[in-house]
């Protein structure tokens, strides 16, 4: 796209946003796209040639995690390739190590992480509790577990761990479901799909295109693996109840929705009611989504659930939930009220702006560090557009929405937060501070295109503080919550890697402080419910909070 056209498009989009009433001075962009400059040369290949095979339209995962234990975020990018090709003919997944300044080097060959399955997503967690982060890759077909040998070299432990589920995996999440101190694994499966059963679908213009998952009528059951120690897992899907219901699962997030001390699992299903697996604490899970009010939208309709993000958006101490959906369907913003949800997408200002796009990766992040969570949505259609935004007929611009004190959100312009409009068929969005400046950046995988790295350049950002929250063993304390005072508000941010879409995010906890220079009364509520007090912290640093180093509060 040439510069003149992109400018016209940006103005037109902005004009449409502002309802043709004109605007004031041009808004300042929030991000600069710096993937190529930073050394991330990954180009996703969905394998699409002439046929329209369903996996091609939903693949493309990413992780931001510390592979080599040097304290910065490395990038793992999940590749796909042609569905019909043998694995050895497919391109491999890639691992890029960060030199600490946000410059990356491809170390796939040395790392041993070049999986060649038809890749979908990735989850990160220290499964063997040895203090370094391991990788779980979901595929169309058997998934792969890579255990980290400690120096950014990995070992394929799929067979020995027993985690190679052979369905069509999408998102996955590590969490300690039984609170026994090690990480279990939840794997979301999409549909039971066979290339031999692919269908002929047409779009509104009468041309061949991808089908809806509902055309296949073949929802899949998800899988729960229990970590039984010594690097082995046991499939407890049937025993736990997780395998009892099927869905077209895409996104996943783990959080304790009813604050009973046990982590629950939310799964976004594409075109079907979402699942909320309530953890009974005795190994049994029950899907309570309908009763809890988060299976369907505010009108009772099942939408095309894609990505998921969870956070305490309204500062009331419990965890709220957002599920993004396809075009002509608004975001479902489920506000938690004592374990029961109400879809507030409309009153929060998300309904109108979101429904023009098909959203996949998303995250609640305080980009401008004003103490209010903002929302990022990575977009791209699942069917070809007759009048596309770019040469890629699936491409769409992303959305950034700024959180306001009244609980509503307003779109950040220029659209997508970049000076020049960027349109691509975006899938995974992973969030984390890549360049070490304290502000959260966004890594986006684009179907059949180069990856984007949006570096946070929000003008006049507020102050910040961040925390690496660790178990005594040194593993990231997934499931722990950090509570901190900021003036009269108590902010809660959780240690969580799995959310968004096919993605794993920086597990460090980030607080935007606005004008405040100090964050007070920091407490950690660990996954098992124990609470430790860590005191006050200054802005501008990443602080380590290790279990046992704080003052334990009486239960």
């Amino acid at each position: 796209m040439n510069a003149r056209l992109t400018t016209v498009l940006a103005c037109a989009a902005a004009a449409a946003m502002l309802s043709c009433k004109g605007g004031d001075s041009p808004p300042r962009p929030w991000f600069e796209e710096e993937a190529a400059a930073s050394g991330l040369d990954f180009v996703h290949d969905s394998g699409h040639r002439d046929l329209f095979l369903m996996p091609e339209v939903v693949s493309g995962g990413a992780a931001l995690f510390d592979a080599d234990g040097d304290g910065d975020l490395d990038a793992y990018l999940v590749q796909s390739g042609r569905v019909v090709d043998a694995p050895e003919l497919r391109p491999e997944n890639r691992l890029y190590l960060n030199d600490g300044s946000g410059r990356f080097k491809d170390t796939t060959a040395e790392s041993g992480t070049g999986d060649r399955g038809y890749g979908m997503g990735v989850a990160c967690g220290d499964v063997d509790d040895d203090g370094d982060t391991d990788l779980y890759v979901t595929n169309l077909g058997p998934n792969t577990l890579f255990t980290n040998l400690g120096d950014a070299r990995f070992h394929d432990a799929t067979a020995s761990s027993g985690t190679g589920d052979g369905s069509w995996g999408s998102s996955a999440a590590f969490f300690d479901h039984d609170l026994d101190g090690d990480l279990d694994l939840f794997v979301v499966n999409y549909i039971e799909w066979y290339v031999t059963a692919e269908l002929d679908c047409r779009d509104m213009m009468g041309l061949a295109d991808y089908c809806s998952p509902l055309n296949y009528d073949a929802p899949a059951a998800d899988v729960l693996y229990e970590n039984v120690g010594r690097g082995r897992f046991r499939d407890v899907s049937a025993a736990s109840g997780v395998g009892s219901e099927r869905g077209n699962g895409l996104g996943v997030a783990v959080f304790d929705h009813d604050d009973d001390g046990f982590p629950d699992v939310f799964v976004a299903n594409d075109g079907e009611p979402d699942h909320l697996w309530r953890n009974g604490g005795d190994g049994a899970f029950a899907n309570v989504a309908l009763a809890a009010g988060c299976a369907l939208d505010h009108e009772g309709a099942a939408k095309a659930g894609m990505g998921v993000s969870v956070a305490d958006v309204d500062d009331d101490g419990d965890t709220d939930l957002i599920v993004c959906n396809r075009n002509r369907e608004s975001d479902s913003f489920f506000v938690n009220d004592g374990g029961s949800f109400r879809d507030r997408g409309s009153s929060a200002g998300l309904r109108v702006v979101s429904r023009s796009f098909t959203r996949f990766g998303l995250g609640w992040v305080d980009f401008d560090q004003d103490g209010r969570l903002d929302l990022y949505e990575a977009n791209g259609r699942v069917e070809r557009q007759s009048i596309p935004y770019a040469d890629d007929p699936f491409a769409e611009p992303n959305l950034v929405l700024a959180g306001r004190p009244d609980g509503t959100f307003v779109e950040v312009l220029p659209r997508g937060g970049t000076r020049e409009p960027v349109s691509a068929t975006s899938r995974a969005a992973a969030f984390g501070d890549v360049d070490g400046d304290g502000a959260v950046d966004v890594l986006v995988v684009n179907r059949d295109g180069p990856v984007h790295l949006f570096i946070n350049r929000v003008p006049d950002r507020g102050h910040w503080a961040a925390f690496r929250v660790l178990e005594a063993s040194g593993r990231d304390a997934l499931g722990a919550s950090v509570l901190a005072s900021l003036g009269e508000r108590t902010l809660r941010r959780d240690v969580r890697a799995a959310s968004s879409y096919l993605a794993s995010n920086d597990p460090r906890v980030h607080f935007g402080l606005g004008r405040a220079r100090r964050i007070e009364g920091v407490r950690v509520r660990w996954a098992d419910g124990a609470v430790e007090r860590f005191g006050d912290f200054d802005e501008g640093s990443v602080h380590e909070l290790r279990r046992g180093n704080g003052d334990r509060e009486a239960p």
């Binding site: 796209m1 056209l5 992109t6 016209v8 498009l9 103005c11 037109a12 989009a13 004009a15 449409a16 309802s19 043709c20 039971e192 799909w193 066979y194 031999t196 059963a197 269908l199 002929d200 679908c201 047409r202 779009d203 509104m204 213009m205 009468g206 041309l207 296949y216 009528d217 073949a218 929802p219 099927r246 079907e272 009611p273 309908l290 009763a291 009010g293 299976a295 369907l296 505010h298 009108e299 009772g300 309709a301 099942a302 002509r328 029961s340 409309s346 009153s347 309904r351 109108v352 702006v353 429904r355 023009s356 007759s386 009048i387 596309p388 935004y389 770019a390 040469d391 007929p393 349109s423």
Partner: protein
Amino acid sequence: MRAGILATLIATGCSNATPGAEPAIPDTSTVRAAPEVLELFDERTAQVRRAPRDGASWLALGMAYDSHQLFHMAEAAYGGAVHNAPDEPRAWYHLARMRAELGLLEEALEAMARSIELEEDYAPSHWRTGFWSLDLGRRDEAERAFTRATELAPEDGAGHVGLARVALERGASEVAVARLEAVLERDPRNGYARQLLGRAYKDVGRTEEAVAELEMAQHARPIWNDSWLLEIQREGTSLLDRLERIRAEVRAGRGAGALEVLEEIRRENPTNIAVLSTLTPALVQSGRIDRAIEVNEEALRLGRDHTRVHLNLALLLPQKGAFDLGLEHARRAVELNPASADAHLQHGRLLFEAGRNEEAAGELERALDRGNDRVSTHVTLARARALAGAPEQAARGLELAVSSHAESGELFAVLATVRAELSDIDGAWEAWRSSSRLGYPRSLLEGIADRIREAEARGRGE
């Protein structure tokens, strides 16, 4: 270059929002579409070029774009319609709809207000105003609009459902419950009302009823009575639109009338699964089973080795006496798509007919596991299990099935038979009575009663 078109359209869409601006015909030269769709656009565009001051031509052009979901272009063309025919309420109405699709709700409301000025008694204008007002958080305006819709069309659920939504947003959930229950009394198939009722029940603490309503309605989509919108839907020319219209004809039992058109579509798309899936039942409905077999076999010859083609043949061939061939096609359908409930079901049915009861039971269980929860599947499965020497399993399966199909006299009847075989005489009579209460045919019930009595006599050692 195509990106520029969208930019221009967004801009022109806005500039056309007032009748004063001179409308421009959207450029369709780079729109990618099937030939029949492009032909429609070309025809309508030419019409506008011939009569650029004719509002009706602009309206027809807008409807062509609208029916193919080209919202920006439709908005521009409807802009041309209101410019040239400012007193045409339909043009303002559709312009409003397009603006709403583009997220321009304020502008949509302005256009709809103009449409209402011109034709006040069209109820959909009012309930659409209500829903957009609700999206903008204007409950009072929404309430006024919905109320007017109910006055104009008291039997139509839309206005009442809208008022229920207003009540829900105000926290007056009991009011919403009353309204929605009334809507459902008039129209039990209104899935949208059922969904909202589920939510309302939840709000008032009637959680079990809420879950039941939501489970029933989770796949429902709102269906609105809007004759002006129907005019748009009839405009669609893509294969999808044409097949959808034909399917509606077939569903209504008018498959024979659609055959000529379908055969023509098939000649252009001889291996298209959607076409074969529409043509096959239409041919069957008109008694042309041989032709149905022929078109599916031709698809196979052309290389379409697909589950649906095999399934069609598995259904058709046994009707013409080629049972073994039908069974082989069913097996191949399962092989190609093990996820297909239909494939397992058909394979299971044919295996059952072949007397291979154990294999049949396995396949029917797989069909059930994949969501084929039909009464007939449960019945065949129970029979296969019983004949395979597992009547206890058959009884257990039926007991589970009747809990979700409590209205099925047939299931209770089969349960009565199986229990009789197991010498559970009391249980058999209980199931028999349920079947009788549900209106299962008396003649069949008499036979089952005889079998229960025989089992009773056997039990007494007679």
